[in-house]
Symmetry: C2
Subunit: 415 residues, 2 copies
Amino acid sequence: MNKLTREDFTRLDQIDPLAEVRDEFTLPQDLIYFDGNSLGPLPKRTINTLETMIQKEWGDGLISSWNKENWINMPRVLGNKIATLIGAKSGEVVVVDSTSVNLFKVLTSALLLSKNRRNILSEAGNFPSDLYILESVNKMLGESYERYLIEESDYEIDKYIDASTAVVMLSHVNYKTGRISDIKRITSVAHEKGALVIWDISHSVGVMPLDLHNCGVDFAVGCTYKHLNGGPGAPGFLYVHNSLIEKVSQPLTGWMGHIQPFEFAADYQPANDIGKYICGTPPIIAYKAIESSLAIFEDVSMKVVRDKSIQLSEMMIRLMQQECATFGFELFSPRNADQRGSQVSFAHNNGFSIMQTLISHGVVGDFREPNILRFGISPLYMRYVDVWDAVICLRQIMQTDEWQSEQFNQRSFVT
Amino acid sequence: MNKLTREDFTRLDQIDPLAEVRDEFTLPQDLIYFDGNSLGPLPKRTINTLETMIQKEWGDGLISSWNKENWINMPRVLGNKIATLIGAKSGEVVVVDSTSVNLFKVLTSALLLSKNRRNILSEAGNFPSDLYILESVNKMLGESYERYLIEESDYEIDKYIDASTAVVMLSHVNYKTGRISDIKRITSVAHEKGALVIWDISHSVGVMPLDLHNCGVDFAVGCTYKHLNGGPGAPGFLYVHNSLIEKVSQPLTGWMGHIQPFEFAADYQPANDIGKYICGTPPIIAYKAIESSLAIFEDVSMKVVRDKSIQLSEMMIRLMQQECATFGFELFSPRNADQRGSQVSFAHNNGFSIMQTLISHGVVGDFREPNILRFGISPLYMRYVDVWDAVICLRQIMQTDEWQSEQFNQRSFVT
């Protein structure tokens, strides 16, 4: 292969069908942002949307906006918008609470459905919060489930799924490695054995095409503050296959999940739709930011997004080989694009201080214990030339000993 | 007593020590707002706070703001601000999730602490969501608790509390009647019998002095979108007495409640402080609105607020007797100010359409089934003359048959 030059990257930007979408975002000048998988940037339109929401809807409309501005239906309305991105049907998705709270709900739902089956299958490398919730739900249900945490949810997983498996609970894209687990295949294997599946799609929604309903996925949860750009800590969402919605129950039975919240009935009767997963009153300002950011996706094909994600990632991996091969970085994500989500991770023994140094030079990725440099790939606003500039910056850092200075070795709370 | 005139009300406004606080709020002209107990109005300062948060902290700061703007500590920092309003110590309160989700957590905590006791005591007229959560927690814990719902938590309650009582779970101020339950007395009675208490202070925080720690209250939950003016659906808060924090556990064990969230440890180890009640990533935009609205309380004495609340309510009740005695309204709140929170409720068979008509005339209260007109009293921005104008408006409406027209009889989803 020819040696890559900056011109190769600028040429790709010139023919990028998503190039104009970058204008939708406010991105600080001279900053290259590889951390959209932690916190997506601010969409320009969100500034006005929130100003209107705050001053007109809340300030002027006050309590009447629950009806007049349809605040009351936002969990379902935004759920339907997300449904179009993940291959769900209308009525299968609701935006509510946080991803962890939602996992608590759907895992309980799934276990209550699966009656006598007593095994839960997940991955040791799953996002820790998901595993904490698994333990906690088991505790709430009387410690009656066995948990099996396999190393990797590839073909190996098949032999662990059997007639005792209640639930297979996995992440679509691993938060550290970026490795994809095959939703379609694993869901199908699980269903053959009569098990239910729960997928956490936090790291794939907004950057990969998904086809949850057609794959028969039973439950899913996900996040809106990463690639959906809904704002820091924006509410999560959950999906339930429409064939299950009538049957399922969940334990966080707050009034907003009641079939008639404003009748203030003495007894809880759940909504007869996905709204049964709503609990307390939803934070409307946060919802408006999600609504605004989702509008950007209306004109965007997820296939085109995925194509660009792969090409950005491939170019990064090739350029790292070309420019940084001698510095001890090890590709920690799968080399095969089909098995890799929208991030590229590298292991390096000095990963923490190297990433801190990079950030100080305006290239923002993040670090994950114990030694992982994580670069999120966000096709909506990332340019090919950003990849070039970032890798060259990294090479220059490695050529000096700057990253060894003390200031880059102090661990802060969040990286 | 002399007949009240509008001048009596304007005179009270002239000597009102809180008169200037009204300037802190954006209130639509020609609107009289008696619904701060449903949704508080927009504080002016919140407009700028959110603009800065959105454009500078999120837009420019991106992921770095979790550290640099201290987003990560907001649940605890805002908790400590609320602590000063409710007589809690620093470290006893955290702002997180919704009131219903928080009740799920603390009720579970309390039941896990109380081991062999098998009775839960509450009120039939408690806010329905609280009772729904009670049922649900019982279900999650194997349906092993008896629930006793008494009619009113006055002195009657004493005889129901005994050595089998695990938890007494009540609202401080009843959402329909405005009736106060005596936190100090009931907590003390419960403790004498070895039971734990949980208080829902959603309707009293921000309008009444509270003294939770000194009363020995074990757990409390509350709301920030009513009298704290934190915005529609703003996150709730919870309080745990500091003598219990080390001992308690709760089931929503998300990563943000972990002692070291960013170590991504395989096993959940709860934070050793009130932060153990945090679950998923908190919605920071919503938190900033709360932070801003809480700042208004820094210069305000809760005793002065309570005094004005009582006087506004007394004037309203007297004026209703003077102007509307013949129209069939029945005072539904306690007549004794010591037993009444910051609202005045009236029962009327045509309550729904009368309230709709009032709202169409710019006097905004709300309606609760089956026949309750609810007027929230918000001393921070309410003028005495608002009470006069509202009651005169109501009299004029009752003197015509306007409220009988069809448009005011259509039930909308939220009132």
